[in-house]
Symmetry: C2
Subunit: 371 residues, 2 copies
């Protein structure tokens, strides 16, 4: 993926992170319920069966509250103050299904919604809301055996610190002497190593796939990929070397020493979303001997020219949302197939550069890994 693609992707995060599916010109159904991502006991924000979101914020002496979530180009949703001291408002249209980040602008300052849980995105902890999706079953918490998600602190000489990662171990891990393949899975710009399990629900997606017999059981490792300073536009200055050193010379050896892993390239995959796709693209090309499976989720494409003369990947998976650049993904995969690569394209319908695209991408990717 070149810099231009990433700039477009980044612009998409900034300007279109809250794109909507449809403007409902008819009535708004009054079947609003508390979002599933609310803090304990909080009634707001709410969502209705059409995908509208409704907000209610107490601030009796405030003049103005705006929610960043709303129809693209309208600057979010302006709340109206009521006599009881609460500001309320509803998005002017249905939101895309799945997870959205948002925040409040209160009298000119940026704050989170006290009703909602927080998720790390845009290089800060943002409020999160979940628009129930028709296919939400695949990432639901079900009565199936559950894997564990563990925080590890691994030594990093190159950055002079202990660095944090999260490791998903599948159900039954540790009960015998079985060794497992490993997927290294990266977040996007402005997110961190908490994103894939918190907003991405990677652990529940895998628990469910494994319970249904659709995927092999494997370990997932998620670490922080923004080794440079966090600032808007910083992606232009992103250099892969620092992170590549952390990942390939420090994290992978630590994982292989600490967990029951299979350590050959045919049992190691790398995937990433958005900026994490850029990282995956660079690192799998630079270190082809380490990885056998590559996946870019809304994070650019591969071409045959850059892959030749390197150890051949067992799979190249490329995905994005239908509101992104699906033709680019399909064309790239078609060209890779023509060049005799095992390439798979996946387009998430009616979603953009957001986590519902990436949850679905993981659901599609999981069954293809390590076969």
């Amino acid at each position: 993926m070149n810099l231009k693609c990433m700039t477009i992707a980044l612009a998409a995060i900034i300007s279109c992170g809250f794109c909507q599916a449809q403007i409902n010109s008819g009535g708004v159904k009054e079947d609003f319920k508390a979002s599933s991502l609310n803090q304990p006991g909080q009634e707001f924000p709410q969502v209705n069966s059409q995908g509208y979101a409704r907000f209610r914020i107490k601030a009796p002496q405030a003049d103005s509250i705006r929610v960043s979530l709303g129809l693209g180009g309208q600057g979010g949703t302006r709340l109206v103050k009521n006599a009881d001291g609460y500001f309320t408002g509803t998005t002017s249209g249905a939101m895309d299904e799945g997870f959205h980040y948002y925040h409040l602008t209160i009298d000119g300052g940026v704050f989170n919604d006290p009703g909602a849980l927080n998720y790390f995105g845009s290089a800060r902890w943002e409020s999160g809301i979940e628009i129930p999706a028709k296919d939400q079953d695949f990432y639901a918490l079900k009565n199936v055996p559950h894997g564990h998600v563990q925080q590890i602190l691994f030594p990093s000489k190159s950055t002079h610190t202990s660095r944090r990662a999260y490791v998903y171990t599948p159900p039954g891990y540790g009960k015998g002497n079985k060794r497992y393949p490993v997927l290294y899975l990266q977040h996007g710009w402005g997110e961190d190593e908490t994103a894939w399990s918190n907003q991405g629900r990677a652990n529940l997606i895998m628990d469910n796939l494994i319970a249904e017999g659709k995927s092999k059981a494997f370990i997932i490792v998620m670490t922080y990929g923004m080794t440079n300073e966090i600032k808007w536009g910083g992606i232009k200055d992103f250099k892969i070397e620092t992170f590549q050193t952390v990942l390939t010379e420090e994290l992978i050896p630590y994982i292989d020493a600490s967990f029951s892993t299979l350590t050959d390239r045919n049992n190691r995959a790398m995937a990433g979303l958005s900026m994490g796709g850029m990282e995956t693209h660079s690192i799998t090309l630079n270190k082809s001997e380490l990885f056998g499976y590559y996946a870019l989720l809304s994070g650019g494409t591969f071409n045959a020219a850059e892959l030749k003369d390197k150890p051949k990947p067992k799979l190249i998976f490329i995905s994005c949302g239908s509101r992104e650049h699906p033709e680019g993904v399909k064309n790239a995969v078609a060209a890779l197939k023509d060049a005799d690569y095992n390439a798979v394209a996946y387009i998430s319908e009616h979603t953009g550069h957001e986590f519902q695209t990436w949850r679905r991408s993981l659901r599609e990717l999981g069954p293809l890994l390590f076969n």
Copy 2:
């Protein structure tokens, strides 16, 4: 511990959670630095070497911002609006060392400080600030072998759901066939299963104790202890049976089936802070056959009468901050010793009903367990 004690403890959480060590009538040293618990890249809130905290919040059109943190009885710290649209202010005295929860009241509504990380307390995600402590080394992130903290989802028939817990496994866990003792460690009212590793730093405290050869390596299990509805004053209606069933009939069997544990009572301990102490008190008395070590941290006391005719504990540890009820703790421990129990009292100097007391209590408790 009786209900009156818990009511006092709860009142302490509500009204005195932000008690201070001293009012500095002299000058405030201008050596403020960003709090170690700030969000990435955020300069505020800040703390100085005397323990003062300084806040800076952007909200150009707001009328009033108050920070809940400040000298007791003064209702927190009122910020002053500057010409640049930022509200600023400094606590009128030095804060106690260690971790404090706080929030902002902006024009009559409650919000978090966008500069600070969030911690679950008061039944909501609150802002957190860290006043550097003279003894902060014992919970610092050091270049020592680190244990892992893993999220597990365990099946709970009695509550019809999968429940979450966090499990600390010590450095080296899983590399051989070694089996480990287990400490069940409970949070306080309004907190949850994230508290002990996030604000409590239990994992780093144990990593450091183990690296220094001061403590045996053991597993710590932390789960959610508020099985009733979350509301202020709800503690009066707290019944132990629901949680006791989850802990002793569901969680312990899951842990013993999923981890390399030692399963006799001499290798199982229970401890808790504040409300978690109440839970520990009730459950260790009701299920003495399961636990060999009991610890109450700012969570009441034991007396010999309630212990007799039950399997004798190997250790009873009781602690609190010097600003709480240290004489009550010392007297209770003296009486237990007179009755021939192995009882230990610990008083954390210059701290109240806050996490610095409990971090220190864990540092003192760890070396006494499973010997």
